[in-house]
């Protein structure tokens, strides 16, 4: 559906814009001011304040930074590494392909949360370790998608023609394979963005991600948990933000896939 893609694009744009704006400007103060705790919504604090008197809207806007940053970095790392491995597997075939794919199976089978806890235990919880942990889940996904689509392109006659013209496997991969699977990878990346945002929220909720005082939607959710009867709105707002971001990326991914469809006919199983 064309409309879904547009809505998704708008939601994603909103999240990205919010994150960008929050770097230079915030509507309220995120400093602790216990006297102003649990303030009702007012012109000064549009969504009220939290248990430490911080402006909730400002926290949410800053929280978008963590989400966008973690999602961008983890999908970026996961997609480039995974795609490179998948392309390598498809180009070389034989034992190299087997090896890469069995490694991907292994990474898939390994619980991602356990890996995140392990990273946090060894290097301490931080944003960069959350990025690494999420990228670790992404690598095998992109490796599989890239290899499967690349193998289909390798069977095309124009690739045979390129081999007959004496091109090397690397040249063919860069010139013919990658451009022809790019659409599939972009669609996959948007969907993985949604997963990354959810994963960042989950890790921060568990205290394995972004550390105080940097705000993040997952951490706001965790802190609001104990105040659920007293101030349920503190849990609702960050929850809503996560929903909006994930929904936006999913809709955008759907839209992109439909848009790319005529070109992908016969490429997807």
């Amino acid at each position: 559906m064309r409309v879904n893609g547009a809505i998704g694009g708008a939601l994603v744009g909103l999240v990205a814009l919010t994150a960008a704006v929050s770097v230079v400007w915030l509507p309220g103060s995120t400093g602790i001011d216990v006297a102003a705790k649990f303030a009702e919504p007012s012109p000064a604090n549009l969504l009220g304040t939290d248990q430490l008197g911080r402006d909730v809207l400002s926290l949410l806007m800053q929280g978008a930074q963590a989400s966008v940053l973690v999602a961008l970095l983890s999908v970026g790392i996961g997609a480039s590494l995974g795609t490179a491995l998948g392309l390598l597997a498809a180009a070389r075939g034989g034992w190299a392909e087997e090896g890469v794919m069995r490694l991907a199976d292994l990474a898939f089978a390994f619980p991602a949360l356990l890996f995140a806890i392990m990273l946090a235990a060894v290097f301490g919880p931080s944003l960069s370790n959350a990025v690494l942990a999420i990228a670790f889940i992404m690598v095998p996904i992109f490796a599989r998608v890239a290899r499967a689509s690349a193998n289909q392109i390798w069977a095309r006659e124009y690739v045979q023609a390129a081999i007959a013209a004496g091109r090397s496997r690397l040249g063919i991969t860069l010139d013919h394979i990658l451009p022809n699977i790019a659409a599939v990878l972009v669609v996959q990346a948007t969907i993985e963005f949604a997963i990354a945002i959810l994963a960042e929220a989950a890790l921060s909720y568990l205290g394995l991600g972004v550390q105080p005082p940097t705000p993040s939607w997952g951490r706001m959710l965790a802190e609001a948990q104990t105040l659920l009867y007293l101030a349920p709105q503190l849990a609702i707002w960050p929850g809503l933000c996560i929903v909006v971001a994930v929904l936006g990326f999913n809709l955008l991914g759907d839209g992109l896939r439909d848009w790319a469809d005529p070109r992908l006919r016969g490429l997807r199983a």
Binding site: G93, R156, E157, Q160, I163, A165, G166, R167, S168, H176
Partner: protein, 318 residues
């Protein structure tokens, strides 16, 4: 020394033998036709010459290109040979071009890959090639994407790509199957003219004897992975000796002279058996009208029957 010498080329698959010891020579500038039905091994022979046999194929025998055995070539050695000394054009002009790349880029990439020339020089040569293959409005076509070209134009673009580095040998695998009759004649004449003016050897693979007659000086007739008959194209097609060649020629559709009664087009009975079921003696045994029981037992020897003509049949007199 011949440009190409193939000696006892054999290709085996787990299911059976697909090419049963093929030997032939190709001189510089010579135009050779390879005829046969699907499954006769003609495409496989071409792929063996390019070092592009499908997975699972085991090849033996010797291929000497310009006096050098190709069997010892590494992957890098092959990439230096393919496209530069031996080029190949494929059946389907629709799918043999990358849909996401401009025609011009696809030609210049091959030149830039093989030769140390500037991008401008490569572009200039691409334009010259497009003109040489008779592309209408070549300058504009260079910037077009494959979908904007007609079937005949795409095949011309593919021929231009294949000629990019002045190969000594061009393998054309059924280059006209996807084209209509008029385009077929044009592309065949173009191939013959290019081979003549460039002194390039041409190996035309086709099931279409008329195409081979139009282009080739010499013809090899393959059936079931075995060479059945070979000789000067005119002589073999005018006076076929092997029952299989005779059958192929009888099965050619021709215009019926006005006033003569309609008659069914003669066919060769049966179909080509699968690899595993090919007869062990003469490959054509079982479909041959002239076969005698002895034909099933031993592979007939290739024997000389005339000036440059060879035949693999115990029955035919040749």
């Amino acid at each position: 020394m011949s440009l190409l010498a193939v000696r006892d080329l054999r290709v085996d698959f787990p299911a059976g033998t697909a090419l049963r010891g093929l030997s032939f020579d190709l001189e510089r500038g010579e135009r050779l036709g390879v005829a046969g039905e699907s499954g006769s091994g003609k495409t496989l022979a071409a792929l063996a010459l390019m070092g592009m046999l499908p997975e699972g194929a085991r090849a033996s025998g010797e291929i000497l290109f310009d006096g050098h055995p190709v069997s010892s070539l590494s992957e890098t050695g092959w990439t230096a040979l393919r496209g530069r000394r031996i080029a190949m054009i494929f059946q389907e002009p629709m799918s043999a071009l990358n849909p996401l790349q401009q025609i011009g880029r696809q030609i210049t990439e091959t030149i830039l890959w093989h030769e140390a020339v500037t991008r401008a020089e490569a572009a200039r040569r691409a334009l010259a090639l497009m003109t040489e293959v008779g592309m209408p409005d070549p300058e504009a076509r260079l910037r077009m994407y494959p979908h904007a070209l007609s079937g005949g134009q795409r095949q011309r673009a593919l021929i231009a790509m294949a000629l990019a580095c002045n190969p000594d040998l061009l393998l054309a695998d059924e280059p006209t199957t996807a084209l209509d009759a008029t385009r077929t004649v044009q592309v065949l004449d173009l191939l013959r003219k290019l081979a003549q003016t460039r002194g390039m050897a041409l190996m035309l693979i086709s099931h279409d004897l008329a195409a081979i007659e139009r282009v080739s000086e010499r013809v090899l007739v393959l059936y079931g992975g075995d060479l059945m008959e070979a000789g000067p194209a005119g002589a073999v097609l005018a006076d076929p000796a092997h029952p299989y060649t005779q059958g192929l020629i009888a099965a050619r559709p021709r215009p019926r002279p006005p006033g003569t009664p309609r008659r069914a087009l003669p066919t060769i009975p049966g179909t080509v058996p699968g690899l595993a079921n090919l007869p062990q003696g003469c490959r054509f045994y079982g479909r041959c009208a002239q076969a005698v029981p002895g034909c099933a037992d031993a592979r007939p020897a290739l024997r000389q029957t005339g000036e440059g003509r060879v035949l693999r049949c115990v029955r035919a007199l040749g």
